[in-house]
């Protein structure tokens, strides 16, 4: 293997979308936590609960439009992503069984070869898509139809919105830990957050099956 070789893992648009999503996600989580639990200092960061709510709702618009535009303009890439994360093979189950070697007290001889995304990332991807969809469809009536929907339905929306957000926040925290802090996988940090490249060696080790399909460009 070439020590100098690099793999372009994420395109510029993907990275822009990821950054955008990251920023509005933080805003949404922060404002949401702020006014759900009445935490004054968070609300005051945004100028009181009413303004925090405005920030929350307009961030949500970006939260919806960002990925939507990305999907429309990069439908091919999105389809490929869906295809990858929905393909669950024996190797993926093998990864789950060993937890990819991330858990110290699970003894791992060898982690099975992985696609562009390992089984953990696949599950995360799927959950994020479902979670975002739930957040969007429950959030919309809470804002736009709050006056006309039945009170029971509104409470139902608030509950789903709340529990989905809790799960999503935990998932994203785990994602952040593995991608930015854990020494084994933070080597891929730049692939999404900076220039899009990963060392070929690392890819060959982490994403063996995907690496085999790559083509060299010069």
């Amino acid at each position: 293997m070439n020590a100098n070789a690099k793999v372009l893992k994420h395109s510029g648009q993907t990275r822009t979308m990821h950054w955008l999503h990251l920023i509005v996600c933080i805003l949404l989580a922060l404002t949401g936590i702020g006014f759900y639990w009445d935490i004054n200092w968070i609300n005051n960061l945004f100028g009181g609960p009413a303004n925090a709510s405005i920030v929350h709702r307009w961030s949500a618009v970006i939260f919806v439009l960002g990925p939507l535009l990305y999907i429309l303009f990069n439908f091919e890439r999105f389809s490929r992503f869906v295809d990858t994360i929905s393909n669950f093979t024996k190797d993926d189950f093998g990864w789950i069984k060993t937890m990819g070697g991330y858990i110290p007290f699970i003894k791992v001889d060898e982690v099975p070869p992985q696609d562009k995304y390992n089984a953990g990332q696949k599950v995360l991807g799927g959950l994020i898509i479902i979670g975002c969809l739930l957040m969007i469809i429950t959030g919309f009536p809470m804002w736009v139809w709050r006056g006309v929907v039945a009170p029971g339905f509104l409470a139902f929306c608030y509950n789903i919105h709340f529990w989905t957000s809790i799960i999503l926040i935990l998932l994203v925290l785990g994602h952040f830990f593995l991608a930015a802090i854990h020494p084994k996988s933070r080597v891929e940090f730049s692939a999404m957050m900076i220039d899009g490249y990963v060392d070929a060696d690392i890819t060959a080790e982490h994403n063996e099956k995907w690496y085999a399909t790559l083509k060299e460009v010069e």
């Binding site: 070439n2 100098n4 690099k6 091919e76 490929r80 339905f153 790559l214 083509k215 460009v217």
Partner: protein, 119 residues
């Protein structure tokens, strides 16, 4: 430096899965909207059932007109307009009528000045 990239093949399967996610999302939104409309209908249904309950209670009553209520007739004959049935008599006016807004303080003063004769 050597650079490796994904091949840009776009298979039929990938296309179907990508659009599948979008279609499923749309269907899911539809189901959710249906739940919302059902909830509105269910909320109105409670009101309608209570309305129907009162109307059917009315139909079961033997007397269905206020002026035929025997105790009302007795109340007028014995108390409000002795000997006859005459609504808005003086006593009825004192006990059963009121005034609104700025006229209320005057009414209170009047009621305190001329209390109903002791029973």
């Amino acid at each position: 430096m050597k650079i490796l990239k994904e091949s840009s093949v776009f298979t039929r399967r990938q296309f179907l899965k990508g659009s599948g996610v979008l279609v499923i999302s749309a269907v899911f939104m539809g189901i959710f909207a249906k739940v919302g409309f059902d909830a509105v209908a269910a909320q109105e249904d409670v009101v309608q059932k209570r309305v129907a309950g009162l109307y059917s209670l009315d139909e079961k009553m033997t007397i269905r007109k206020s002026h035929e209520n025997p105790e009302i007739i007795q109340l007028y004959k014995d108390f409000l307009s002795p000997g006859e049935i005459k609504p808005v008599s003086d006593k009825a006016h004192h006990l059963l009528h009121t005034r609104y807004g700025e006229e209320v303080p005057g009414l209170i003063a009047e009621l305190k000045k001329h209390p109903i004769e002791a029973a």
